[in-house]
């Protein structure tokens, strides 16, 4: 275990393979921070989700930020197609904020649930942290010490989002389109 952790830490600059037990929460969130921008190239938003073709993809973090500076670090210089990827922090749910991806931390389940309800049917990828009962389009989970994620493709379809099958194939579980 020690060795694997070391290896994981070494590879963290680019990819974060392995994850720590609860004791090392910072490593877990480093992996999650690395994952968030990487979801973006596999997701297609409807054109209406952006103001213009040059508008960057915005990752919003609602409430407490568990990532520290790691999210900016991971997103920095990354691109999806022609769009840059930027990170915004929201103290409260703000429907006017043009977010394409919202990370909902485990800190306040009520806010998270409210945001999920508000975003239902909109072209926004909601990503819920592993501690939450409510699940967004993408929901993190810890499986055998690895950070994994479930995908609710049915919810994505409601918001007019298309998630690449490549990403679906990596998911821990997928709720298929057309399922209730």
């Amino acid at each position: 275990m020690r060795l694997r952790l070391l290896a994981a830490a070494a590879a963290l600059s680019c990819v974060a393979p392995l994850v720590p037990a609860r004791a090392d929460a910072s490593l877990e969130y480093a992996v999650k921070a690395a994952y968030l921008p990487k979801f973006i190239p596999f997701i297609t938003w409807p054109d209406s989700a952006f103001a213009s073709p040059a508008t960057p993809v915005t990752i919003c973090v609602l409430g407490d930020d568990p990532f520290g500076g790691k999210l900016e670090q991971a997103a920095g210089g990354t691109k999806s197609g022609e769009r840059a990827i930027v990170v915004r922090r929201l103290a409260e749910p703000d429907p006017s904020a043009s977010c394409q991806l919202i990370f909902l931390g485990a800190g306040d389940p009520a806010v998270a649930q409210g945001t999920l309800d508000a975003m239902k049917g909109r072209p926004v990828v909601t990503v819920t942290d592993s501690g939450l009962k409510a699940h967004g389009v993408i929901s993190f989970l810890i499986d055998a010490n690895h950070v994994r994620f479930d995908i609710d493709d049915a919810a994505a379809a409601q918001g007019g989002l298309v998630i690449s099958s490549k990403l679906l194939s990596l998911a821990h579980a997928v709720k298929q389109r057309g399922q209730p």
């Binding site: 590879a11 600059s13 990819v15 990487k38 999806s80 022609e82 490549k166």
Partner: protein, 447 residues
């Protein structure tokens, strides 16, 4: 006979075969080079495509560092026996997943490209998703070692060359053989021709020897016989004078004997004419009168089984040798008799004809229009088939058994008639009979 072969060099078919072999060889080499290039470029293209497919499918696994998924993608390529190795490298260039058959994978890979090594080719392509760079994918494909490829091509070229050589040798032999066969065939044909000529010449020589012998013999006999007739005739005259007036009673017998002697003398004259002991001179002849005079002789010659009809309507005279003409008529009558072994009718017909068109089978350039005295000998005998009829006047051509005919009768007739400025026309149908007509030019002063 021993004509040298026309072409001492190589025949065109051999040159053609060698040229074809050379062209085949050149084409084979070109094809091999082309195939070789095509093969390697196609192989590289195919491997590159596979690498791009792997890169596209493994991009997510690389980005999310899912080694298991990456290994699954790579392992799917194990079924391709052309691949020696396949590997997926992360964004930092480190080896994430892969397999290798008998070679080592590089632990670090960051640069895309194509690299050739002994026995394999490495193709590295970047993996990315929607512009986001993920990592690298490496495929290593087996390539056949160059020496083995060239050995294969050399074997092929050797086979082609040998095949071409075999074709060349075979066609050379074939050309020789057919040339030999042609020479042999032409020599054989010439031999047959010469044999036939020789046979004909020998036949002609034999016939002419026979004719000569008969002529000499009959001529000699006729000459002596003629002298004997003259002696008898002289003595008869002396006897008549000696008997004087008392001999009136015996006068009838003496005259009868004298007439018989005259006939005998004419016969010897004819024999002498046949043996050419007597110079032949053309005289004015009325063919009707001539035929009438010959009727008795003809009757004796043809025998009782043949019924003779004379239809002598010709009034015009012609200029020819009387003795020869008599011979001809007698010959024709005898021919007619021979054509009617079981009896039949023989008609001798004379007519006056005026020709404005050449008679059948007379060339127009040798035809002289005018008046002709015609004499025809017509029988109801066996007749002649067309091929025999056409050859009837050929010298020594005869259908009679050996020793019976000279084959000269009709040819002498033809020669005599043509020499006298006339035409000989032979008409015949098998089973119906034969008509031989002589058209002799009318003697202009005889009118």
């Amino acid at each position: 006979m021993n004509r040298p072969p026309k072409n001492k060099g190589w025949s065109p078919s051999v040159i053609g075969a060698l040229a074809a072999a050379a062209i085949l060889l050149a084409a084979g080499v070109l094809m091999a080079v082309y195939q070789e290039q095509l093969y390697s470029s196609q192989q590289i293209k195919s491997v590159r495509e596979q690498a791009q497919i792997l890169a596209a499918s493994a991009a997510a696994a690389i980005l999310f560092d899912d080694r298991r998924a990456a290994q699954e993608y790579v392992d799917a390529l194990r079924v391709n026996p052309e691949l020696q190795a396949a590997a997926v490298y992360g964004g930092d260039g480190r080896l994430m997943a892969g397999f290798a058959r008998g070679s080592r994978l590089p632990p670090l890979l960051t640069v895309a490209g194509t690299g050739f090594s002994d026995g394999y080719v490495d193709i590295a392509v970047p993996a990315s998703q929607n512009g986001a760079r993920a990592g690298m994918v490496l495929l290593r494909a087996f390539t056949e070692p160059a020496e083995r490829r060239y050995a294969r091509y050399a074997g092929l070229i050797l086979l082609v060359t040998m095949g071409a050589l075999v074709i060349a040798v075979l066609s050379f032999a074939q050309a020789q053989l057919s040339r030999r066969a042609q020479q042999l065939a032409s020599v054989n044909a010439r031999l047959h021709e010469e044999m036939e000529e020789r046979r004909k010449t020998e036949e002609a020589l034999r016939q002419s020897h026979k004719m000569e012998a008969i002529g000499q013999l009959s001529g000699g006999i006729a000459h002596d016989f003629n002298n004997l007739i003259m002696i008898v005739k002289g003595n008869l005259r002396l006897l008549k004078r000696k008997l004087g007036a008392e001999g009136d009673a015996a006068d009838t017998y003496i005259s009868s004997a004298d007439e018989a002697l005259d006939r005998a003398a004419r016969l010897t004259q004819r024999i002498l004419a046949f043996s050419r002991r007597q110079p032949l001179t053309p005289q004015r002849v009325n063919l009707s009168a001539l035929a009438q005079g010959l009727s008795q002789l003809i009757r004796h010659s043809v025998g009782e089984r043949v019924e003779i009809t004379m239809r002598l309507n010709g009034a015009w005279s012609t200029l020819c040798d009387i003795n020869q003409m008599e011979n001809v008529i007698l010959n024709l009558a005898i021919n007619a008799r021979d054509a009617m072994p079981d009896g039949g009718r023989l008609m001798i017909e004379t007519r006056d004809v005026t020709l404005t068109q050449p008679p059948p089978e007379v060339e127009s350039q040798s035809f002289v229009p005018g008046d002709y005295a015609s004499l025809a000998v017509i029988d109801t005998g066996t007749g002649m088939p067309e091929d025999v009829r056409q050859r009837a006047v050929d010298p020594f051509f005869t259908t009679k058994p050996q020793g019976k005919g000279t084959g000269l009768g009709l040819s002498m007739t033809f020669g005599f008639v043509r020499q006298s400025g006339g035409y000989l026309i032979i008409e015949s149908k098998p089973g119906e009979g034969t008509a031989i007509t002589m058209l002799m030019p009318r003697d202009p002063e005889a009118a």
